[in-house]
Symmetry: C3
Subunit: 296 residues, 3 copies
């Protein structure tokens, strides 16, 4: 599972169904002794821990990898590192790497590689947990209006999610500083000011400002960003009845969203994290079953 593009509507629905079963308490364990490793070349708490928990709940053996203590520091290439894990007998890896489409280098790897985020590109497991959260709330995607707000250009989540949501029949709107939008992205969605967007949509899907990916320093202060583009307390009051707030986290409190809203009634932010473990259990089980491993 490398990009959201690879996923058909049927596959998405099958994974959502499996994830929802885990959410409702289903437990399965690997029949075989399966070894997995999470090769995270970029900082992460949620995604890495979430995969780790999903793996342990499926009865897999998690082999640690710490990039700062690895031979990557001796100049080893990504391919050689992954090939090493394959040779050592690891049966599946999850990879996060700052390089866009790093997985194109890994064509000769025969064990499953799950994409835990590549550069500004894809983050398909995040998409699945976001879809799961929306489905739990609304029971459908068709006709829903989803507003993606913020740092669209630098966000893996924006790209992955917009694609999947359109495929499933939702209407996608964007908001945020205009210079942050790629041409390609704007063409497939509608740009709205944040004030117009919050009254229109069923889901306000906030993105994190990726300070660390901005080549040049942001021209506006964080307070000013919050006022002009963020979900303020006032804007939350303008949202439709039943509309929800989502954010992939980590949250810059007081920037993308007012600190007080993080755990408000509309917020599904921590529900998203909870769903993340179940979504990843579904993804891992599916990838391993495709290689003939069994669960029961």
């Amino acid at each position: 599972m490398l990009t959201t593009k690879d996923l058909t509507v049927e596959k998405i629905n099958a994974l959502l169904k499996s994830a929802q079963e885990f959410a409702e308490g289903k437990t399965v364990k690997a029949v075989d002794e399966i070894y997995v490793s999470n090769l995270f070349f970029e900082d992460s708490t949620r995604t890495k821990t979430s995969f780790d928990l999903a793996q342990r709940k499926l009865g897999l053996h998690v082999v640690p990898f710490d990039v700062t203590a690895s031979s990557v520091n001796k100049g080893e290439s990504l391919y050689d590192t992954v090939k090493t894990f394959e040779s050592l007998g690891v049966n599946l890896t999850v990879i996060r790497h700052k390089q866009d489409k790093y997985y194109e280098e890994l064509k000769n790897i025969s064990i499953p590689v799950i994409n835990g985020g590549d550069g500004s590109g894809n983050h398909p497991s995040q998409t699945l947990l976001d879809l799961m959260t929306i489905q739990q709330e609304f029971g459908k995607f068709k006709g829903l209006k989803i507003g993606i707000v913020g740092d669209v250009k630098h966000s893996r989540v924006a790209n992955s999610n917009a694609e999947a949501l359109r495929k499933l029949g939702a209407k996608v709107y964007f908001s945020g500083p205009e210079k942050w939008f790629d041409e390609g992205t704007i063409i497939n969605g509608t740009y709205l000011s944040i004030d117009d967007l919050v009254t229109e949509v069923d889901v306000v899907m906030l993105l994190r400002i990726q300070h660390e990916r901005h080549g040049e320093k942001m021209k506006i202060s964080l307070e000013s960003y919050h006022r002009k583009f963020g979900l303020t307390k006032e804007r939350e009051k303008m949202m439709k009845k039943g509309a929800i707030i989502m954010h992939p986290a980590p949250i810059n409190r007081g920037v993308e969203i007012a600190g007080e809203l993080v755990e408000c009634e509309r917020s599904r932010i921590f529900q998203q994290m909870k769903n993340g473990v179940f979504a990843r259990m579904a993804i891992l089980k599916d990838a391993l079953e495709s290689k003939g491993f069994k669960f029961k």
Copy 2:
């Protein structure tokens, strides 16, 4: 378990009893699938490894956390990090953090938080293992004379231990460079020169010089510190028959204590480490049982 202050004498005795049973070979395992994570924001070998071993011996699943590869680097707050682990399904966390009373920020967290050390404040699991070591030796606390020697002002151990020892009826003495004593601390103990202290007490409890917490550079050399305030080979000979030496480690050999004394007959330093695993098993089991988890 956040501060030693929270612990009644009854609770201390119950935990000591449970820890001693583990020391004598009792084994129990969690009936449920329990996930725990040790969020150490400061360097540690002993405390972290000790909790980790205690958790594994209780049959818990330990989910790794590495602060240097976490979203803390993207500016995530402590509360959001802990709330994330709770949302992901982790059932208990142990936290070490440099901020005094960091746990006051965590009131809305509903899973147990065990304090693995906060700033210069508390370190209750260390206290429990120290008490356990003293009890194994003397079978009681009442009437015992305990000398706490060294960097009292910067030591979590000094604060936690002095409080508990007085509660249990021991008499606490202090020694070390006078400018390192807080007013509050001295008031509840007696200050003695190191030469007077070693002949008086049943336990010489050495503290580590916390180089990394001293705002200004120490004014005296390490050799000079050892001569004026440390446990030299000569001073060890002046100790009472049956009196013991303790140190929470890591040890600055030749500073707080002569290197030759670290494993001498009076030393209980490595016994303390051994007891640490059992003390933490008792603490963890107690915290989890209070949430309804079962062991057998």
Copy 3:
């Protein structure tokens, strides 16, 4: 298991037999609850992960250790760190440390210490996996011609391997920049230019250039090194029928070996990694059995 020197021919053969059984699918698990920890003070992917996997496959509990988050940063000595793990109840440690013969400091440690590499000295588990790879290929050592090529002076592998291979009856040749050879090493082998060596030997055993150990900057460019001392595509064609290529990795592609040769037909590089897990299972099982632990 600290140095290759300690190993008799009988012991080597017993370990190779045990490792080969694991390679052929034998599985055993520890009867007791055994805790192990891998104390790697230097970067490693392969060796550390390989030991980790070997340990899990034997049913051991692996207690994590991260030097960058340890009390080593507070100045704790190696002895005190290892003694701590022993006191905490860890039953065996694997250590990699940059100091030559670090294990001489550890004489008072009573749990087994497996050497995962010391300074420029020994790396006996790598030797065992290399021997295993050669034995799988040729079924014998006697009379084989082995060429060790490259940075002999800075390589743990060169020292460990040359010693064992001679003991087993193989003939060892060296090649590489002459100034990189120790007197002692050259005396026990024959120096050949790389062009002469590749036509002569059954095994071309390449060493990694240890950039990080060279006190002074290398005087020649990497391209020039490859041309003068490396295994180029042209030199591979000059190798004998049935001769194989080995490398302990990580590989500097285009320096010690042309990138295209890494997975060529003669290459056993990834086979070596695979064998590494089995060789380490044999070593661990042997060390633990010598302490009375049982496997079945």
